[in-house]
């Protein structure tokens, strides 16, 4: 079949950007990655993108197709061709472009490192054999453990566009993977990182991350789980959680986020002045109306419904979090057995 792509190119050495159109013949099962490979082999060897596994597990090949992040190797082209589309392929968003479709992942990994991305054993001696854990307890972190760190969620994250320092969906999904791991002893000290500035409360709940994640990690739900754990630990009186409460209130009333209300209610009027640029950036990105000129959303009912849904979801995660996690018992019988 014949595929045509428009590719956003960038050459760092000449600092040139341009869009280029390529048409090639590929096999019926070809993925977007296969098409790029054919272009690179047969048309232009300088076309640059990352790849390795070609089976959606290494996380190398995140890029945008018509403005939405995808894994090139998990994107079959036949439906696109059959629909008669000529998609635009561009690098992921929210990360600096290095060359063509390759972005600099360092800011992404810096956030990964910032969330204490490893099991905190609290310096305890582990059991001689494995921890005794029920499957159901592990299932609680299995969804987040699917993450391949591809960055597709970050590419589309609304909040990160406005606040580049926001820890973001991928790092926070990783955080949830430890928060709900019964073996983790990080407790409050871990949660403090996520409760702080640029933490979970920065999320605007746009759900783009859930929508774009190619592995079904549901980062937004993971963020809700971390939020629930913070509530459970009684840390919600801090600035961040208060921000979230007001956020819900604000959108409930008007259907839009009123940054002008939100900021003062959270941190007090004086501190709010410092936060104004954040709100303005959000406004510029078209995510909220101009904070200085509040107006109402047209379908207020729908927004209210959405908020109800979010509340009930968060209630459910909270309940789940309350039901566990419990620490696994270091089984004394087990210890004896292997002495």
């Amino acid at each position: 079949m014949q595929v045509t792509l428009k590719i956003e190119r960038y050459n760092p050495e000449s600092d040139e950007s341009r869009q280029e159109t390529f048409t090639v013949d590929v096999v019926e099962e070809a993925t977007l990655l296969d098409v790029l490979d054919v272009i690179k082999d047969e048309v232009d060897g300088s076309l640059t993108y990352r790849k390795s596994c070609r089976m959606a597990v290494c996380g190398s090949c995140g890029m945008r197709m018509d403005g939405a992040a995808v894994l090139a190797c998990k994107t079959p082209m036949r439906p696109v061709v059959e629909a008669g589309e000529v998609p635009v392929i561009s690098p992921m968003g929210n990360l600096p472009v290095l060359k063509d479709l390759v972005v600099d992942m360092e800011p992404f990994w810096a956030k990964f490192r910032a969330i204490k991305p490893y099991l905190d054993d609290g310096g305890e001696e582990p059991p001689v054999k494995e921890w005794r854990i029920q499957q159901e307890e592990l299932d609680r972190v299995m969804t987040e453990a699917l993450c391949i760190q591809c960055g597709c969620c970050v590419s589309e994250c609304n909040s990160m566009e406005a606040d580049p320092d926001f820890l973001g969906p991928a790092a926070l999904a990783k955080a949830a993977r430890f928060v709900n791991d019964v073996r983790d002893r990080g407790g409050k000290s871990r949660l403090e990182i996520y409760n702080g500035p640029h933490g979970v409360w920065d999320c605007t709940r746009c759900y783009f991350c859930n929508q774009r994640c190619p592995k079904g990690v549901h980062p937004r739900d993971a963020i809700a789980k971390v939020g629930a754990a913070i509530y459970q630990e009684g840390m919600h009186s801090d600035g961040g959680a208060r921000h979230a409460k007001v956020f819900v209130k604000s959108t409930h009333q008007t259907g839009y986020l009123l940054e002008t209300h939100l900021v003062p209610e959270t941190v007090g009027a004086v501190n709010a002045i410092k936060e104004i640029p954040f709100a303005l950036r959000l406004a510029r990105a078209g995510k909220v109306p101009n904070p200085l000129k509040p107006h109402k959303a047209k379908k207020l009912d729908e927004v209210r419904k959405l908020n109800k849904l979010i509340e009930s979801q968060e209630q459910a995660t909270l309940e789940a979090a309350n039901a566990g996690p419990t620490r696994p018992p270091a089984d004394p019988a087990q210890a004896k057995e292997s002495e």
Partner: protein, 560 residues
């Protein structure tokens, strides 16, 4: 120019495990990897990792050892196999304590399932994303350890002072330019070479770079002719459907709907050793009982619940790349090149014959897999021997000091040869040679081999090496993030390694494990119970041999 006590080349499971261990021993460690660590192909392993925990039935390391020896068709070194099987359980528990999420039994222990030719349910797993889970756990620990990682640095050559290895040269992919990396000990952990075959389960990055670096530096490669073919790979792009699918009870059927495996392996059926299953499939296909060049992997009787719980990843792969939902219909599969048993010759501590150079993981050959690897044993190999090699390297450095002199001219030499590659404007594009190589290897050095086919393959490889020497054209002339350049260099590694593989295969006039000669169908212990060593000799391959270490189990007929 950077310097570390221990430099690990490669950041898959073996490389990261080695780096973590060396740093525990107090060494200053640097990791050089052409991919970010979590992009390594270890993450693609689905099925699981073996260790005799005895959680799902009677088991012990002796049984694990025996079945591994038998699976290796008696070519594995029995002392090395015993080390792996005895230390394995400890490494699994350690991974679990690091945070690995292993699936559980009813009573909360690590669950284990049967894998082909294992003799007992011994394979620990994390649903069907075991490699992914382990790779990310080790990366977490690597971050915790504070080891320096040079991401997207492509190692080019070993640097020696004539006697010992003193570092490597590497191309910084992001910024462009050759970097000297000086080290008192270098650990190669660069993974496999499956990409030289058409139809492979391996990632694009599996091009045998580390093996070819060692070979060119004069270090022998062992048992290179043994390439395992996995019985269940998708036709479109070679993506693997885990052996766990058969472990969970999946059937293999031919075009007549018959479960044909019992005609070849009356007892084990679908769970016979991989080489046996691959050959049986190929025979069915060759004799006209295939379906469009494939056989059928039938999971439909397992039911949606079991498939979703235990084989979720496989279902997704089948839907993405074959357009088939295994809950509803069988998946067309065929054998594809999968795992390379051979590699850089090492002892049980990862030492090579060159002082200062070590190797671990798929690029090494200890040898624990002999002529045929059992499913689940290579992940185990990466962690057991990764750990041992990291420890040995760090201790050797502490004992013997900093080693030799890294000549400042090394980086200049590498820079000039890359300059020549970039300057070339007329000639063939690398992908042309790569495709011809992949076809020749699959057709003539594949599941079934003959003298005639192998000779033709050798001639083809020699021709391709000549064409490569004459110069291939890299179209990207820039220095920043030049993947066109990297692919051209990788092709060079593959051509050299293909030569070693085919040369060894021609010489070995017997059938053993994955090396199946139609013209020599029997195993010949008298002549061939020995390891092949491939040396570099002015660009050509020179063979030598070494006896197999046999401790407990005398070679016997291998039947399933």
């Amino acid at each position: 120019m950077v310097r570390h006590d221990v430099v690990v080349v490669g950041a898959g499971l073996a490389g990261m495990r080695a780096a973590i261990e060396a740093s525990r021993y107090g060494a200053d460690v640097g990791v050089v990897s052409k991919l970010h660590p979590t992009r390594s192909h270890s993450g693609a392993a689905e099925g699981g990792i073996n260790a005799a925990l005895g959680n799902a039935g009677e088991d012990d390391p002796q049984q694990h050892t025996f079945f591994t020896v038998k699976g290796s068709d008696y070519l594995g070194d029995q002392d090395a196999i015993a080390v792996m099987c005895e230390e394995g359980p400890g490494d699994i528990y350690e991974l679990e304590h690091m945070g690995a999420i292993f699936s559980r039994t009813e009573d909360g222990r690590i669950a284990q399932r049967p894998f082909g030719a294992g003799g007992a349910p011994r394979t620990c797993y994390a649903a069907d994303i075991t490699g992914h889970v382990l790779l990310h756990v080790l990366y977490e620990q690597l971050v915790k350890s504070g080891v320096t990682v040079y991401e997207e640095w492509f190692a080019l050559d070993l640097v020696t002072d004539g006697e010992r290895c003193v570092g490597v040269t590497a191309w910084d992919l992001v910024r462009g330019g050759v970097q000297g990396v000086e080290a008192s000990a270098v650990i190669m952990a660069t993974g496999g070479l499956g990409r030289m075959y058409r139809g492979t389960t391996n990632a694009y990055a599996c091009t045998g770079d580390g093996m070819s670096m060692a070979w060119r530096a004069g270090v022998p490669l062992k048992d290179m002719e043994f390439m395992q073919f996995h019985p269940t790979t998708l036709k479109s792009n070679g993506v693997l459907i885990t052996e766990g699918a058969r472990g969970e009870g999946g059937y293999l059927r031919n075009s007549e709907g018959e479960r044909f495996m019992f005609n070849y392996a009356p007892n084990a059926g679908e769970l016979a050793s991989r080489d046996v299953v691959s050959r049986s499939e190929q025979t069915e296909i060759d004799e006209g009982r295939g379906v469009d060049g494939c056989v059928l992997l039938d999971l439909t009787h397992l039911g949606a619940k079991r498939i979703n719980e235990r084989l979720h990843g496989s279902r997704e792969l089948a839907m993405d790349y074959a357009g088939v939902d295994p809950i509803e219909e069988p998946i067309p599969v065929r054998p594809g090149s999968h795992y390379h048993m051979g590699g850089i010759d090492t002892d049980v501590w990862g030492h090579t014959l060159m002082p200062g150079l070590y190797a671990a993981g798929e690029c090494a050959c200890v040898s624990v897999h002999g002529a045929n690897r059992l499913g689940g044993n290579s992940l185990l190999e990466t962690v057991v021997f990764g750990r041992r090699t990291g420890a040995a390297a760090a201790q050797d450095v502490r004992r013997n000091g900093t080693g030799g002199v890294f000549s400042p001219s090394a980086a200049g030499i590498a820079e000039r040869s890359i300059g020549r590659l970039l300057d070339k404007n007329d000639g063939e594009r690398p992908h042309v040679l790569r495709q011809e190589l992949a076809d020749a290897m699959y057709d003539n050095a594949g599941i079934f081999r003959t003298a005639e086919g192998l000779e033709a393959c050798k001639a083809k490889v020699e021709e391709l090496r000549e064409r490569y020497e004459r110069g291939v054209v890299v179209q990207d002339k820039g220095r920043d993030f030049n993947t066109d350049l990297i692919q051209a260099i990788e092709l060079g590694s593959m051509l050299e390694m293909a030569d070693c593989l085919v040369t060894g295969a021609i010489a070995r006039t017997e059938s053993r494990g994955a090396h199946s000669r139609l013209d020599y169908p029997e195993r010949d212990d008298e002549a061939w119970l020995r390891h092949t060593l491939a040396f570099y000799d002015e660009g050509q391959v020179r063979l030598d041999y070494r006896p197999v270490t046999i401790t407990e189990y005398e070679p016997a007929v291998r039947s399933y």
